[in-house]
Amino acid sequence: MKFSVEEDRQLLFRCFSGNRKATEILVRRFSDLVYRSVQYTLMNKQVSFNKYDLEDLHNTIFLRLFEHEYKRLRQYQGKNGCSLGSWIRTVAVRTVLDHLRKKGLDAMVWQKKLVPIEQAFGITQDEIEPLAAMKKEEQGHLLQDGIQSLSPRYQLFMQLHFDHELPVKEVAEAMQLSIEHAYTVKHRAIQKLKVYVAGAMNTEV
């Protein structure tokens, strides 16, 4: 059952007024959402967990929302029509990621930043000589610098697609782009990178 932003605000207002019933309603209403968000985030990160971990994180998220006289909950405004559920889901996911990061279990730590071979400008040798290895590494650095030089939108696309290894379709969903537009962004970003890297290599002595 969906609730309007105004209904969400009313519920929060009653919580802030100390209405215990409203607090219970809020926890029960979003308990499944939080629990499922925790599960998915842990599964997606390939972190092993048991039901006690789920329960702990579930409770921790709600405690964080309500502690210090609802400090976190008061941050919700709904000014662009964001529902309380969407906001709580984002907070839940962020809390789990932060928890994993603090425990050193963030899978991103071990992910290498890969540059696809088609972007590596024709390096196809099976044995890489030292000089070629240096050149490859230099090109990798140049690519990273090149990505930093792109506009934020193109940067974000490249980071989501290459660093986070999301397929173009999922990047399009996350960035609210059509699939055609996403491929256009990818193509243009790669073209800009090629120009950047070629220009940088030509200026070296």
Binding site: V27, T60, G78, L97, L160
Partner: protein
């Protein structure tokens, strides 16, 4: 757990396509720089669109109700009478903590391990299924801990360690279960409670460490008891 960014609502608006062009540009600029927000975006995208990939379960009723109780307990603290708030304020003052710490050290020196135990009622009305449960509160260096030891079967027990009062210091508190000098398990108390499961009967100690310094030890024995019918 610290949450470093406060872009939660804007991130949700961005993900669900509600931002103006200007705000969207600002958000994309932030996302290209902030790893945590970017990861959150990826994860939220997965939660919303990728749920079919995994078999997700709804929260069990007892989990939801436990959360309701926890939140109500937390709210009760903020609704308490003024005199109790003043008492809590005084307890939080450094001078009081120092005195209390000194008192705790002296009393622990003279106190036997099992002093201060209060036996919880035996659960269950039938002899064959009743479980023994002990619940005790100990304070180490001003940090209140709740230790519950419950027999869960033949030569098996479960130990729960909980911090009843929210304490920022708890992030650095570690509890280790030892049998003689052998370490059984160790947890960082950065969430409200930890469990040691399937513990065989015997002599144990729970050691509490903060910032690499031991602040307290709790000694106990779990053994078979006779249940009179």
């Amino acid at each position: 757990m610290e949450i470093l960014c406060s872009y939660d609502e804007m991130l949700a608006d961005y993900f669900e396509g509600r931002l103006s062009d200007e705000d969207r540009i600002e958000m994309e600029a932030h996302l290209s720089k902030c790893n945590l927000c970017r990861e959150t975006l990826v994860a939220v995208n997965g939660v919303v669109r990728g749920q079919s990939r995994f078999q997700l379960e709804d929260a069990p009723k007892e989990v939801t109700e436990a959360a309701v109780c926890l939140i109500n307990k937390q709210i009760c603290v903020s609704c308490e009478p003024l005199i109790q708030r003043v008492r809590r304020f005084v307890i939080g003052m450094p001078f009081y903590k120092m005195l209390n710490s000194l008192y705790t050290k002296i009393s622990e020196f003279f106190t036997t391990p099992w002093a201060g135990w209060r036996l919880a009622p035996i659960r269950g009305s039938e002899r064959t299924i009743s479980k023994d449960l002990i619940n005790v509160r100990k304070r180490f260096n001003g940090i209140e801990t709740e230790i519950e030891i419950e027999k869960t079967g033949h030569n098996k027990a479960r130990i729960r360690v909980e911090l009843p009062e929210y304490d920022t210091q708890k992030k650095k508190l570690r509890v280790t279960l030892k049998r003689d000098d052998r370490e059984i398990s160790s947890f960082l108390l950065n969430v409200d409670r930890v469990f040691f499961e399937d513990i065989p009967f015997g002599h144990y100690s729970l050691i509490f460490v903060r910032d690499d310094a031991k602040i307290g030890t709790y000694l106990f024995e779990i053994r078979e008891t006779r249940h009179d019918g």
